[in-house]
Symmetry: C2
Subunit: 254 residues, 2 copies
């Protein structure tokens, strides 16, 4: 089986890794839209347009399942992608919510980009299931990770700034609603001790169990829309080994 | 006279403001590429492509002078834009260097995005003039400004992190090589006291003196490639008054 995975950048490689660990023989094609990252600060309309373009790139490569490994794209474009795509579409929002429901006793925190939190996608799903949602956008977390400042005094100060409200609001479970955030887990845990922390990449991989036939040839193709000197090292850091990749300057225009 | 000004986002409005103060009757068309901001982390090739697309949008509106109000675009795309454009092109790098040369006694510091500093544009110009350049990329400064954290302990800690080397290297003049950085002037001055700080927007406006006929109708047209809820307030904050703007979803493809 051949799965397509896309993200606004490199964060979605954490989702790819979790899928690959669970389905080692499945072929995967990944597209990171590094020429237009981040999606988290863009309008709904623009995120939908970019997401459709990424999907078309992958669909042209005969994928049989499409995974949106970006929380902002999952929040804004799930509906449009589902009606546009001839193959099933899975996002990162629902699996994260399902996982949180297994742990919480009634109050769940969600952190993400301004787009993800502003869309209300997590809050709606959680509240439909009778759970109180406390949401907070953390726009500086992605730049901190990309700058490699995942630990130390600056990361801790920024975590305190964003998570103070959550600490005071008695949530027992926290969804990391952005693929970059697991890398800040240490600073987050320092501020929010004794909280169950949900990393969506694991949850997404688990949610695919009934959809994936693990009968491929373990092929992995990585595509990015822009190159960067630190791309090889970020790939190695997240996937645990070196992988070649191809830069595609143009994704299809919708 | 009609001038076109483009930037990767809203930071270039500081350049627009300085031009408008110096040439109050000149008509200005501004394009902020907010659908693809930031440019500072992208490759040379992608920044050149985006810059040519922005230029074509403005050239189609019959401008008589093109101002690149983005340091990364000025650093990477100046040559391509100059040979592409039928009207004169002015960037932000040279005017900032000229201004620094008026103040320094031999050692100039430059801070900017990873793209601007990595391109070596400032360093080459300064060293050609016999001045030692000490350059440092400060990738977290733009997200800090966009998050409104221009003062306080986090801004100061980040400023210390980036500027420590400059403090120790005996420069007497510092070029703010990014249009967002003037908003962090307080934190920067706290770390680097007794240093002349060069804000390029003033320098750019001054450098236009012999090129601009201030004989227009004071018209101002603002275009952005993506909308955002805080765009009106950012425009007000930088320009000092409200201005309407138009969102253009597609700039010409080169």
């Amino acid at each position: 089986m051949k799965i397509g995975v896309f993200d606004s950048g490199i964060g979605g490689l954490t989702v790819l890794k979790a899928i690959r660990e669970r389905f080692p023989r499945t072929d995967i094609i990944y597209l990171g839209d590094t020429a237009r990252v981040p999606y988290g600060t863009r309008s709904r309309e623009t995120v939908i347009r970019y997401s459709l373009e990424c999907a078309d790139f992958l669909l042209a490569k005969d994928i049989e399942l499409l995974v949106i490994a970006c929380n902002t794209a999952s929040s804004y474009a799930m509906e449009d992608l589902s009606s546009h795509s001839p193959v099933p579409v899975v996002g990162v929002v629902e699996p994260g919510v399902e996982e949180a429901l297994r742990h919480t006793s009634g109050r769940v925190g969600v952190i993400g980009t301004r787009g993800t939190i502003g869309s209300g996608s997590y809050q709606k799903l959680l509240e439909n299931r009778g759970v109180t949602a406390v949401a907070k956008a953390c726009p500086l977390f992605v730049p901190l990770v990309e700058e490699g400042l995942t630990e130390g005094p600056i990361a801790l100060e920024v975590a305190k700034l964003y998570l103070r409200e959550l600490k005071e609001s008695c949530v027992d479970t926290l969804i990391l609603g952005c693929t970059h955030y697991p890398l800040l887990k240490k600073a987050i845990s320092q501020v929010l001790d004794n909280m169950v922390i949900i990393d969506s990449s694991e949850a997404v991989a688990r949610s695919l169990s009934e959809m994936v036939l693990d009968d491929g040839e373990s092929k992995l193709f990585l595509f990015f829309t822009d190159d960067s000197p630190n791309l090889p090292s970020m790939i190695r850091r997240i996937l645990g080994s070196d992988h070649s990749y191809e830069v595609v300057r143009e994704v299809p225009k919708t």
